[in-house]
Structure formats: structure tokens, C-alpha cells
């Protein structure tokens, strides 16, 4: 005991020194990925498969594309950015946060009108009838799938009629939560979020009604020297990953 007390400081420093060696001992790399909320499930699957294949860890942070980009501009420690649009990645490169030449489309998303309680097989009719009390849409300025929802309403000439009933969610995950908790009868989400649901619960608006949701990924300057990060982005283009992405309700290039 006396020994411990006497040499406490020295022992503490030694322990800290040993602990700090630990990361260096790790052979595998780590990728910190900022991922758009709609890609949550798929990203989780792909991260697991990537880890099984290469031993690298992928740490995923989900959110609305706009929110994630704001964090990136404030030096959030992300190596890669999987956006829900094809604009923010370009802005990232232009603003100096993204690495030139690493941008590519990893998925093409489809917007969906979803309701577990209202039959939306003929979604257009449901929207036109406007019989619901609340429709949940992700913030169009931060989430491309929210902007898609607004575009569909616009195309159908329903914006003014439906506007008072719009509940704005922070991201499309919350947009779905509002619907799943029953608070909103219908909501615009990504097809990938509702891919397994019965056909009566999901309506796919025609692609012509909303801008193509090309989801781009980019390597960030923070991860420019991170080989695991580059490997992960390459993995997203691989046949194995493309199969998973397609099965989840996206299209690919």
C-alpha cells in the first residue's frame, strides 16, 4: 500500500502511457462516416459486411443531409460523407472539405408516400382528397426526400391545399416516426425505409414528378489519408454492395 501511495503519480503516468499504446496496437482501420438518414439500414448492413471482409470498423452517424454538412463545415471528424443529394457533395469539394475527384453516385433514391392506416395504393387520389389531418414531410431545405415530397404536391397542384396540414420533420427518420406513431396519417419517406411493407401502405409517385434523387458520396479531407475510408468508398461500388443497395429499394448507375 505504501508503495502504491508513494509512487502513485509515477504509476498513473505509466498506466496512461500503456493505455495510449493501445490504438497503435490495433491493426484494423476505422472509418467515420456521415450518412444521410434514409440510408440508415443499408449503411448498417454494408458496414457489417465491410467489416467482415476487411476487418475495418465503420462508425456511422446518421442525420439529415443539411445538418450533417453543417457539422462537416465545423470540422466534425468525418472521413466520408454519404449525402442524400448530389449537390452537397459538390459544395463540400468547392468549399474545401471534400477531396476532388472522389465524388460518385452510390445510389438513386425513390420517394414514397407511406401510411400504415390509410390505403395509399392510389396515392394521388389520397393526396387530392386531402382527407387526412396531418401529413409528415422532412424539412425540404435539409432533406432531399422532403423536397421530393413538396415537388410531388406541387406537380399535383396541391401545395396550397395541403400546406396547413404539413408537419415538418427534422429528417426522414422522424418523418416516418410521426407516421408510425399514428400522429400523422400519411408521410413522404424514402422507399428504402418502407421496402418490406404491404403494397397498400406505399405509393411511389412517378419519377417525373420530382427531381431525381442521386445520392452522392465523397471522401472528406479529414479522411484523405485514411486507407480504410478509401476502401469503404470503393466497396460501395462493388457488386456485393450494389446488390444490397438495390435490394433495399434504390437504383444504381
Amino acid at each position: 500500500m505504501r508503495f502504491l501511495r508513494r509512487h502513485f503519480l509515477g504509476l498513473a503516468v505509466a498506466a496512461a502511457a500503456v493505455a495510449s499504446l493501445a490504438p497503435a496496437v490495433q491493426a484494423a482501420g476505422t472509418v467515420n462516416a456521415a450518412v444521410a438518414a434514409n440510408f440508415t439500414q443499408v449503411a448498417t448492413d454494408l458496414a457489417a459486411k465491410f467489416k467482415a471482409k476487411t476487418g475495418n470498423d465503420v462508425r456511422l452517424s446518421f442525420g439529415a443531409t443539411g445538418a450533417l454538412y453543417t457539422q462537416i463545415t465545423q470540422a466534425a471528424p468525418f472521413d466520408v460523407f454519404l449525402s442524400a443529394d448530389d449537390k452537397r457533395t459538390g459544395v463540400a469539394i468547392k468549399d474545401g472539405f471534400g477531396v476532388d475527384g472522389t465524388e460518385f453516385t452510390y445510389a438513386i433514391g425513390k420517394a414514397a408516400l407511406y401510411s400504415p392506416t390509410v390505403d395509399v395504393t392510389d396515392g394521388e387520389a389520397v393526396l387530392k382528397a386531402n382527407a387526412f389531418q396531418h401529413i409528415s414531410i422532412a424539412d425540404p431545405k435539409a432533406a432531399p426526400y422532403g423536397a421530393a415530397g413538396m415537388a410531388v404536391l406541387d406537380k399535383l397542384g396541391l401545395t396550397d391545399a395541403v400546406k396547413p396540414k404539413i408537419v415538418t420533420a427534422e429528417n426522414i427518420t422522424q418523418a416516418q416516426q410521426f407516421v408510425d406513431s399514428g400522429n400523422a396519417e400519411v408521410g413522404f419517406v424514402a422507399l428504402s425505409q418502407v421496402i418490406g411493407k404491404p403494397a397498400t401502405q406505399v405509393w411511389l409517385p412517378p419519377q417525373d414528378d420530382y427531381p431525381v434523387i442521386a445520392q452522392n458520396a465523397v471522401l472528406l479531407k479529414v479522411g484523405a489519408d485514411n486507407q480504410a475510408a478509401k476502401d469503404f468508398l470503393d466497396y460501395l461500388k462493388s457488386d456485393e454492395a450494389v446488390a444490397v443497395i438495390k435490394a433495399a429499394g434504390y437504383e444504381t448507375n
Binding site: 408537419v167 410521426f178 406513431s181 399514428g182 400522429n183
Partner: protein, 227 residues
Amino acid sequence: MLTLADIWSPLVLTISLASVTTVILLIIATPIAWWLARTDFILREPIAALVALPIVLPPTVIGFYFIIAMGPNGPGGLIASLWGARTLAFSFEGLVIGSLVYSLPFMVQPIRVAFEAVSEEALEAAATLGATRRQAFFRIAIPYAASGFFTGLILTFAHTVGEFGVVLMIGGNIPGETKVLSIAIYDFVEHGQWMDAHWLSLGMVVFAFVVVTATMLLDRRFGRLTG
């Protein structure tokens, strides 16, 4: 540049929400605080802890349980059906209910502490002079506890002005209904309108500063904030 129109609606909404919540809590919290101050009930402290829970719980927890409870599958749906709505969420009424829970301890605690300091002798003297319990409560206890009431009012009002997590979960960001100042600032940041976010935030910092200063001055003027 931020115009008055941009901030007017959230400002009015925030002040309304805070005012309504404060007034209702004054009525609800006073009997609770009185009971906690005077009772010897064996479960008094666990009940006090229950009242104090919203201080410790992350607002998102409160918001999470409310989004479930307020929907058509919960008690909120029943209440809302009284006026033909399906849910209490996405409405000013829903925010009030959320705020009542969120700010409850900020009204109860200061008043309880003030009531505990009410002189037992004064109350007994009143009783011997023929005052009913009701008279003693209104004519002696409440004036004695004035500082606690002031503190509770200010803290509750300010706490509700700053409410964010609960509103984020159950509000639905509806301009003129649930889009309060804290949400408006958050939106400006999310959309990259940082100048607007700065101005609004600055305003709230000034407000918070005024509130804290007022509370401290009241404390010095009237005596004790805490037991």
C-alpha cells in the same frame, strides 16, 4: 438580414407558451409544494423525486414518451378527439402539456423551499386567533413565501422559453402553432442561414442574462433562494 416578420411569429408563440405554462403551473404546483413542505408521509421524498425528474431526464426522453402518449393510440388522442383532432401532437395545446411536465420542478422546488421556511409559530398563532386553515394559508403562508413564488415564476417562464428537445419531438415545426424561437434558431442553422441564427441567438442570450440577473437580485432582496 433578419426582419421583424421572420421572428415575430416564433417570438409571440414562445412568449404565449411560456406565459400559459407559467400560469397553469402556478396553480398546479402550489398545492403540490405545500403538501411536500408540510407532510410527513413516508413516501414524501420519492414523490418529490418524481416531481424533480424532468430536471434530470433528457428532454428527448420526455418528448419520446409524449409522442407516443399524445397520438391516437394514447390518452392524448382521447383528449384531442374532444375537439375533433386525432392527436395532441403538432398543436399548441400539446406543447403546453409537454411544457407543464418539462417545467414542473422549476415551479415546485422554489415554492416548496419557501413554504418550508414559513414560520410554524406564525401559523400556530393564527390558529389560536381563530384563523381557518384556508385563511392561514392565504394570509400568512403565501406572503411569507413570496420570494419562492417570484423565483418559481421567473425560472418556469425562462425554462419554458428555452425549451427545445420536447418541442422538437412533438411539435412538427408548424409556423404560428409550434415553431418556437429555439426551433427557429435550429432551422436557421440547419439551412445555413447563420447570420439570422446569430441575431436570434444573441437576443436569447440577452434575455437569459436579464432573467438570471433578475433572479439573483430578487434573491438578495428577499432573502433565501434555497433552504
